[in-house]
Every structure is written in C-alpha cells, then in structure tokens.
Amino acid sequence: MKAPNRVTDDSAIREVEERQRRRFKLPAFGIFESMKVTLRTMLSKAVTVQYPEERIELPERTRGVIALLEENCTVCMLCSKDCPCWCIYIEGHKVQKPGKRKPVNELDRFAIDYGLCMYCGICVEVCPFDALHWSPYFEYNSYTYEGMIHESDVLQEWQHHVLPPPPLVADADPKAQELQQVAHDKRLDGVWGVIREQDKKDAYRAAETAAAAGLAPPTAGVSSDTLPEEAPASSAVQAPAAPEPATAAEAAAPQAAEPATTPSDTERVSTPAPAAPAADLGDIPRIDPNNLPDGIGPVERGRLKKLAEFQHRGEAPPTDPVDLLAVLKPILDQMRG
C-alpha cells in the first residue's frame, strides 16, 4: 500500500541532486565561496543610514506617534479608558453653549505620556470621532521623563503630517463611495490632510460677511468645496478627486503653468487655507488615485497618490525629501502616451 499523499516520482529532485554531487568542486570549495561572498559585500556600498545626517523616506502612513485633532474631541474618555498603559490624560468640563439644548464637553487638557505609551494604537481604533490619528512623525524625544509627556498643542502640531484617508477601490458600494468622497473632500482643504471644521466655518463666515459688505463678489475667493453645501455636489461626480472646476480659482490651479489665469493674492485673501503658491505642475496628466496604471511598485503607487493630492489642490509637489515629479517622471511619461 502506498501512502496516498506522498510524492512518488522524485526523479527530478534526484537528478538535480546527482548533478550537484557530480559537479567538480575544489577541495575547501566552501571557503573560497564564502570569501567571495564577503569580498562582494565588502566592496558594495554599505546599507547603513547615518540617521541624524541622512534620512530615509518613510512610508507616508508610517505609525510614528499619535496625533490629536482637538476640535474633533468630545472628551468621551474612551481612549483614556481603553489605554493599556494609562498614558492618556484628559481633562474637560461641561459648557452650556448658546443655541444648544444640552451642555457640551469642552477639552481642557489632552496629553499623552510617551514614556509609557506602547504604540498599540487602541486609542486610534477606539476614537469614535476621528480625533486621534497615526502620524508619521517620530522625533519627539526628551532628556527628562516629564518632557516625554506631550500636551495637546504638540499633539495637534503632529496632525500636519497625517494624510487624508486613502480613496476606496473603484467598485466599492456607491453609498460608501459617496460618504468617503465627502470625507476626502473635507480633508483636502485646510492644513495638509486634516479635517478643519473650524477653518471651514471661518471660511463660510468670511465669505458671508464679505458678500454682505459688498466688498467682493460672493464666490470670488472661496473655492466650491470649501462651502459645506456644495461639497456633496462635487462628490457626486463619478471620478473621485476630480470635481468640476466650478470657480475661476479652482480652474486655474491645475493649469497654473499659464500665468494669465492664475488668481492674484488679493482674490484668494479670504481663503482660510494656507495660500497655495502658484504651482508649476507642468503638463502632468490627471492622476486618478482609484485607477492607477498597472505594473508599478507600491512605493510608486504611494508617490502617485501623493502627487494626486497636490494636483487636486493645485499646489507644487514637494521636492524634499524626494522630488516627486523627478522620480515619477518615467511613469508620468508612460501615462501620457
């Protein structure tokens, strides 16, 4: 009886083994082989990165530190309660706001003791209001234990490194796509990749007051997706991250290569987001983050998505630590033609 799952025909393996056995080898062959290997590594470039002087480009969603988005926090204490290290300090009080029926929580103090934190990320997972995010920042050391406790102003600062959520896959549920698009559009304006509800409100109010005073035409300075009412409308367009250029300001941004249509600074003065410099995006093709070209590596995919963000906002892509346009040039050329 044969065992059923045994490979019975191992002639191929035997043949290889026999060939290896027959191959002529010098005595002490292994010594020469190993000396060859070490000689090759000795002559090749070392892989060491001299950290403070040199840096590697980290993946853009690296889990470095936990950053706080203060205006989203409702002092629900879920993160603090679920923290296994008890390293989150939250203090708050209740305030009766005019126009609100119930008193609302106001945050007084939010601090994370990074001397205790073990980076499990439970607080990020558990936060129901997306107030906590993983940030790729990591240089937060201190010479003292007290210095490792970072207060909310520092945690807020780290939000600047957080990217918006990645787009969904192309065949996702339409409702999910719509909701995601809303969230995505919300994050695109304001500070890099951060939901800025307050900024949005400020922008709306500024536009209103400007319209009331008759100083400027109502929609001259505020692009369409900074107005809360119009954000869902632009998201209804099939291609995500490619809303219809509704206003002059937005239409001009991707084509900033032509200086004639670039909006002047005075036109954009009421925009609360940091005024984007006139971006020299050249003639790069429109990048659809949901539909990237096939056959490119994960790093290039990430960089393309990053470039898509900048393209959408009409800003110049960063040149540090890598020149996005330069490193992506072969792929962009391929997309173009």
């Binding site: 190993s34 000396m35 290997v37 070490t38 590594t41 000795m42 070392a46 892989v47 060491t48 001299q50």
Partner: protein, 321 residues
C-alpha cells in the same frame, strides 16, 4: 662598532615605536573591513573623517578601566603574563628588514629568532590561564597551548622550506635570493610552504577560524577571561603585533619583501604587508570557527605530513640541482 653601540638605544626606541604605532592602522582596518563585510559603515565619528580616531579612542577607553586582580589569582604571575605576551611580540620587529640596510638589528639568524620569539606567546598564555584560577581560563589555556604546539610545526616547516631553498636564515638574504620576477620559488615547494605558513599564522595569533582558545560563546574569553583594563589590552596588542610581524615575515619569505618596480622599497614593503594583513582580516571575519578536534586533526594529519614531505622534496631538489 662604537658608533653602532651608541645608536643601539635609538634603534630600540624606533623599533618599539614602529611596533606600537603600526597597531593603529591595523585596528582601524580591522574595524572598517569587518564592518564593510557586514554591509555596515563601522566607526564614523571619532577623528572627524570616517572614524579615523577610533583606535585612539579605544585605547583611551581601555586605560581608563579598572585593573582587577581576582582574590584567588596568583597575583605576581597574573600581573606578569601580559608583559610576557607583549614583549616578544614587539621584539620580532627588531630583526625585520624593511628595506636594504633599514633594519633594527641585522642578524644572520633572523628567521630563527622570529620563530623562537613567536613561540614564547604560548608561555604567556599558560601563565595567564593558570594564574587566573578559573575554569574558563584553564580550558582556554589548555586549548591555546595544544594549538600553538600543533601549529608551530607547520609554521616552522613552511619557513624552513624557504630557508632551505634560499640557503640562508637571514631575512635580508632570503629577499635577495628571490629573483625577479618577484616571489617565485620553485613550484610546488614554494606554494606548499606558503599554504602551510599562512594557515599556521591564523592558528598562531588565535584568529578565526582557529580561535577555539578564546571561543567567546563557550569559554567567555579563554585565558583572558579574568583580565581587565590595561592588562587585557596588552594581550590584544601582542596579538596585533603578532599579526603584523607574521605578515611582514610572510612578505619577506614569499612576496619578495621590498622588491618591486618604480616605487621606493619601503613603500613596496608596506603595501605588501598591508595586503597580507587585509587578507588576514578578510578571512578572519568570513570563516566560522572549527571544532577543537578538527583543528588538531587538521594540523597533525594533514599540515605536518605535508610539510615534512615538502622539506624532503626540497632536500632532494637541492641535491639534484
């Protein structure tokens, strides 16, 4: 005669300084080459340029450490052992000719002197091992002595082969005997002698793949386990001096010493010795450690018979030609 007597202290100091200072490039090369073999960079900060000051920093670190003598140790012998290791290793430098006429002490029996002094290291290891009164040092000491005795023979047989071919024990004359093109002894006698010499050099200085006496995963640091501070570094200095001295002797015996075109003799000599040392470091950080019995078998069953046959063959060859 009186002039050379007056110059004697000067010569001694110069030889000592050469022996001492040549350790700096060796240690630096050791750190850097081993690092690059592992795709690392090695020291980069001391001395501002690629960690060039690291050997000095290491030395300063070691002399700052406390000199501990175990309570149960045989204190006088324990204290003496590092010096017994260091001084013969430095003494070898006295008879090594660097260029024609440029030698600490010209001797007719220089090769014999070198081989005799390099065997004294075994005594220092035994002193250190027994005086420490520790199991690890004892095991390490026994291994070291067994190894040095076993590999002294192939080393001597390799060197004697060359002495027979050249017909002299003077290192200067051996170099003179190596006709142009450089370093060509009659085949296969020279090649076998070279093999014997190089392999036993590794065992003589207790470097991998023959470092069972200091096998750190089994017996901590072998005979040096109980040492600390300056005395510990003396053993390492003697080891480094041994490496350089044996490389220099190997260069003189097999690579044509200072002979070479265009460049001055001293440069040629330094280049050849450096190549020898780099080979030692390269092999040291590549090859894994042998087992104790494999080491002994390799010496007694292969190297020594090979050496004897080689010497016999050379004798026949010399008679016939």
């Amino acid at each position: 005669m009186s002039e050379s007597l007056l110059l004697l202290p000067v010569r001694g100091v110069v030889v000592f300084l050469v022996a001492l200072l040549s350790q700096i490039p060796l240690l630096y090369g050791l750190l850097k080459i081993s690092a690059h073999q592992m795709d690392r960079l090695g020291p980069m900060y001391p001395g501002r340029f690629h960690g060039i000051g690291q050997p000095i920093a290491e030395f300063v670190k070691w002399i700052q450490k406390e000199d501990i003598v175990p309570r149960t140790a045989d204190a006088p012998v324990f204290r003496l052992a590092p010096l017994v290791a260091l001084l013969p290793a430095f003494g070898v430098f006295a008879v090594i000719p660097v260029a024609p006429g440029l030698v600490g002490a010209e001797s007719e029996l220089a090769l014999l002197f070198v081989l005799a002094l390099s065997a004294v290291g075994a005594i220092a290891v035994v002193m250190a091992a027994y005086a420490s009164q520790s199991k690890f040092t004892l095991v390490g000491g026994l291994r070291a002595v067994g190894q040095i005795i076993a590999y002294e023979l192939p080393l001597v047989l390799g060197a004697i082969s060359i002495a027979m071919l050249a017909g002299t024990l003077s290192l200067t004359e051996i170099v003179e005997a190596q006709a142009i093109p450089y370093a060509l002894w009659p085949f296969p006698f020279g090649a076998i002698a070279f093999l014997l010499f190089v392999l036993s050099c590794f065992a003589e200085v207790l470097w991998p793949p023959f470092d069972m006496p200091v096998a750190e995963s089994e017996i901590i640091a072998g005979p040096y386990t109980e040492y600390s501070g300056m005395r510990f570094i003396f053993f390492y200095m003697s080891e480094f001096a041994h490496v350089i001295a044996l490389s220099a002797v190997g260069t003189l015996l097999f690579l044509g010493g200072w002979r070479g075109p265009i460049l001055p003799p001293v440069i040629w000599f330094v280049l050849k010795v450096s190549a020898f040392v780099v080979f030692f470091i390269w092999a040291r950080f590549t090859l894994p450690r042998l087992r104790e019995d494999q080491l002994q078998k390799f010496a007694w069953k292969l190297l020594i018979p090979l050496g004897l046959v080689n010497v016999l063959g050379i004798a026949v060859f010399k008679v016939l030609t």
